[in-house]
């Protein structure tokens, strides 16, 4: 296999890992944000919940920024097209995302009840909406998106943003992602809080996990009947990364199951998803928070892996110009760019993991409401 094709594959794999990491870590913080108003019934409890993720939310949010940056660098055409095609949705996501850092930093810095209650609503919105859109985006790309390219590579949009939001399958995917995030947020709260937050978080984590199982099953049924995309002629994986040429694509009912039919071992991914979700719910019931946290990782691997296996090699298929569908072969950066990014990632990702773990280690232990109130540094 040519080096360029290999680089494209590696980056597609890294993209998957990034999406999983993003779902897990950012989802966890967003879940705490969504649950904030429900697990904390007074100001002290809410501050406790916030301070559990307080030292880490910023670092976690960088996974999200990094997700954008990595797509920009490694899949510039995908970045350029998807962000513009989903304009209104992306702007909504952006608005809810930029409210979060401000909410964290500002909420507890003034004493007014109205001030704090308003920021608590901001936490709910900025926890729920980004995760909903995150899931919904997967729903949209599975269904295909309406766009085509002009001769010089400018994209043109062929369908309205409403079709990307008001659509049962897309809403289902959005809720699926929210329920996993609520689950993970609940588990994080369980790990580092005491009653009454602990028991409330446990209830919500359990509900989140159960809902995820149901939605995953329904989603699977949808996908199996959906008009998926398939390559009608083999492509050259090492082709120049240009969606205008070299690809022939058809849209067929059940097309997303072709990869599963060709490689039955891929069925392990949805099985992993279901198994992890079941384990998650059981672990929460048994009050094994640490097991539950790691089992949340399995849930994300299972779900994102299932989608990735169904879509390979497509990244964002086009319904109006299927031949111009973006795939991992035609929307990556140059071989040189991919190599550079790979080297940089190989150096820095281990360093990041080291200091992130050290940070968790330093801030370990249960967060107590009484301590928060007397610590002027806390959120």
């Amino acid at each position: 296999m040519e080096l360029y094709a290999l680089l494209k594959l590696i980056w597609a794999a890294l993209l998957c890992i990034l999406f999983i990491g993003l779902g897990l870590m950012v989802g966890m913080d967003m879940g705490v944000g969504t649950l904030l108003r429900f697990v904390g019934r007074n100001d002290g409890e809410r501050r406790t919940a916030l301070n559990i993720i307080g030292p880490h939310w910023d670092g976690n949010q960088v996974w999200f920024i990094l997700g954008g940056g990595a797509i920009f660098a490694a899949f510039p055409t995908l970045y350029a097209t998807s962000f513009s095609v989903f304009y209104v949705v992306m702007i909504l996501l952006l608005f809810s995302m930029i409210l979060r850092p401000v909410a964290f930093e500002y909420r507890s810095k003034a004493d007014s009840t109205l001030w704090r209650a308003s920021w608590d609503w901001v936490f709910l919105i900025s926890g729920f909406l980004p995760m909903f859109i995150y899931g919904a985006a997967f729903g949209n790309i599975l269904e295909g998106v309406g766009y085509h390219f002009g001769w010089n590579g400018q994209y043109y949009q062929d369908s309205s943003f409403l079709s990307y939001l008001l659509n049962p399958f897309v809403i289902l995917c959005g809720l699926m992602s929210v329920s996993l995030s609520v689950y993970q947020g609940g588990v994080m709260l369980m790990m580092r809080s005491e009653n009454p937050i602990y028991s409330r978080a446990r209830t919500y984590a359990q509900r989140g996990g159960l809902l995820a199982i149901v939605l995953f099953a329904i989603g699977g049924l949808f996908i199996s009947r959906m008009k998926g995309f398939v390559l009608t002629a083999p492509v050259d994986p090492a082709m120049p990364a240009n969606p205008l040429h070299g690809q022939h694509v058809a849209q067929l009912a059940g097309g997303w199951l072709h990869n599963y039919a060709a490689h039955p071992f891929l069925w392990l991914l949805p099985v992993l998803g279901f198994a992890s979700m079941t384990l998650s719910v059981l672990a929460v019931r048994a009050q094994k928070a640490i097991l539950a946290w790691w089992s949340g990782l399995g849930c994300w691997i299972g779900t994102i892996g299932t989608v990735a296996a169904a879509m390979f090699p497509f990244l964002m298929p086009s319904t109006t110009a299927p031949d111009q569908s973006l795939s991992i072969w035609n929307s990556t950066a140059s071989a040189y760019g991919l190599t550079c990014m790979l080297v940089v990632a190989l150096i820095f990702v281990p360093i990041i993991l080291c200091y992130t773990s050290w940070c968790y280690y330093v801030m370990r232990g249960k967060v107590r409401t009484a301590d928060i109130i007397h610590d002027s540094h806390s959120y």
Binding site: W57, T77, T369, I373
Partner: protein, 537 residues
């Protein structure tokens, strides 16, 4: 092919300028305050005097208020390249995305992870470990600026990349060229140190406020002294690097330097004056009046006395042949894209260097398509395109001048403040203290003017001489643009109101109040389930 709507392009530009300028109100303070905090904490660790820890903590709190919005509005910038500048991102993403991604991996991660420890780790880390964390936050935020400016420099001086006709985009081919791009180097140091100036004046101004009120004397005197010294050296560095950047533009972006200096005609060394004030008229292409200092311009820009600097008229005339050649490049590129014939590729490669000028002409061609241009229409299109190669002279000229005048003012202010502080005569110089207090927003203003100079001066290009701005925007409808613009206006107004409220609140409270633990007021008592309306669940 759908036509490009100029209104959408203008709205995209307006939105980008608005969000970038807004983001850049908070970034300079972050860049500088982190190192100031590190300096204060260093003194604490070295001398063991508690007052320096209080200083680091108090200014750290103000830093935190500022930092949150800096992070939040930075996310916007990352989104906007994709949401509003699709063609640009696709055309230049291979090159531009890499520094952005490295910024995330190398700098932003470090900054964001350690900022949590910096705020929360005072009691959990040893003195030395906490100091190291503070330095890492400072280094992280400045490295972040480094990579962003490397990316920005690659738009201004696109080195280390070539155009690839098979993928219809610029492809990255030299990491070292991109990182050590001379424009990136001087831009980074200029911007980072401008941040130091902003932070120094911020700390100095608020300390002056305490001294004026006779509050927190020990605390304020020390903060003032450190800030004044921090500021004076930084201001010198900013001015030096500004000079370096000017020379860089003279070599690589002649249109920018001519616009900055309001130079309509090629200069006559050595007596060509440096214009202090003028009223450039972009429509008539002349200055309405000029006040200048003779013999200054040539040595200022070229560092010698006899090299002429090309004027805007001359640059415009020289663009004619490049536009014609560019139109041939674009036509050949399109043919090659459809047929993949070697003959077309050869034609393209002969004219490749001028391709950007061909794209620039699209706006004036019938149907916005230069590839089907008739021979009769060609001269007319070239004439219409020529003035397009010039940036807006009025804006560039004045943004630059205001920035320079402010920098000179800061130099004087920091010099006098340092002297008075070293002589311990601050309390007797109330006018100086008031001046310091009221000057707090000025460095922010100066950095904004700096951004305007650099980016307005780069027009009409997003990628200098390669991709015009009006071709770079996404093909949205006007209603989409208005939706996002309205959203930004509302959100950003709320942000600035909240930020100013908290800044004033904590600055007024001062360091002592910060040290006593925050107690919840009565209506927020612990466990009072019915006390907050939000408990209704």
């Amino acid at each position: 092919m759908d036509l490009i709507n100029p209104t959408v392009v203008d709205l995209s530009r307006f939105q980008f300028a608005l969000t970038a300028l807004y983001h850049f109100m908070f970034v300079p303070l972050t860049l500088g305050l982190t190192f100031m905090l590190a300096a204060m904490e260093t003194v604490y660790v070295v001398t063991g005097r508690k007052i320096y820890k209080e200083m680091a903590q108090f200014w750290g709190k103000l830093f935190g208020i500022n930092f949150a919005i800096g992070v939040a509005t930075g996310i916007t910038m990352e989104f906007e390249f994709g949401t509003n500048w699709s063609m640009y991102s696709r055309f230049f993403g291979d090159m531009f995305g890499t520094p952005l991604a490295i910024e995330g991996l190398m700098a932003f991660f470090m900054e964001s992870t350690f900022v949590g420890l910096m705020f929360f780790g005072w009691d959990r880390l040893s003195k030395q470990a906490h100091l190291a964390v503070t330095y890492l936050v400072a280094l992280g935020s400045n490295l972040s600026a480094l990579w962003i400016l490397i990316a920005n420099a690659s738009m201004n001086v696109p080195e280390g990349a070539h155009f690839d006709p098979d993928t219809m985009r610029m492809q990255f081919d030299s990491f070292v060229h991109v990182v050590f791009n001379p424009d990136a180097q001087s831009k980074f140091v200029h911007t980072s140190v401008a941040g130091y100036v902003s932070a120094a004046l911020f700390v100095m101004g608020i300390s002056a406020f305490y001294i004026l009120r006779g509050q927190h004397k020990q605390f304020a005197a020390r903060s003032f002294r450190m800030a004044a010294l921090f500021g004076i050296i930084s201001t010198v560095a900013v001015i030096t690097l500004g000079d370096v950047l000017g020379r860089m533009d003279y070599e690589k972006q002649p249109t920018k330097i001519a616009a900055i200096e309001g130079l309509w005609h090629t200069s006559k060394p050595p007596y060509e004056p440096w214009i202090l004030a003028a009223l450039p008229d972009d429509a008539k292409q002349e200055n309405h009046f000029e006040i200048g200092v003779p013999f200054v311009l040539t040595p200022l820009i070229t560092h010698d006395f006899n090299t002429p600097i090309t004027g805007l008229h001359e640059l415009e005339d020289a663009a004619g042949p490049r536009i014609q050649s560019g139109i041939e490049a674009v036509s050949a590129l399109r043919r090659y894209g459809e047929t993949h014939q070697q003959a077309d590729l050869d034609v393209f490669q002969a004219h490749e260097a001028d391709m950007g000028f061909g794209f620039l002409a699209t706006r004036h061609a019938p149907g916005q398509d230069v590839t089907t241009l008739s021979a009769e229409a060609l001269p007319q299109v070239i004439e219409a395109t020529k003035p397009d190669i010039l940036p807006n002279v009025f804006v560039t000229f004045w943004a630059f001048r205001l920035m320079v005048f402010l920098a000179l003012y800061f130099f004087a202010l920091f010099a006098i403040s340092s002297y008075v502080s070293l002589k311990n005569r601050l309390e007797r110089n109330r006018l100086l203290l008031r001046l310091c207090l009221w000057s707090i927003p000025l460095p922010i203003l100066a950095t904004e003017f700096g951004w305007i100079t650099a980016e307005a001066g780069r027009q009409p290009w997003t990628v200098f001489n390669r991709l015009p701005t009006f071709l770079s925007a996404s093909t949205h409808s006007v209603s989409y643009m208005l939706f996002s613009l309205a959203g930004f206006a509302v959100l950003y107004s709320i942000f600035i109101a909240a930020e100013l409220y908290l800044m004033f609140k904590f600055a007024r409270l001062g360091p002592e109040a910060h040290d006593t633990p925050q107690t919840a007021p009565d209506h927020l008592h612990l466990g009072g389930a019915a006390s907050t309306p939000a408990a209704a669940h």
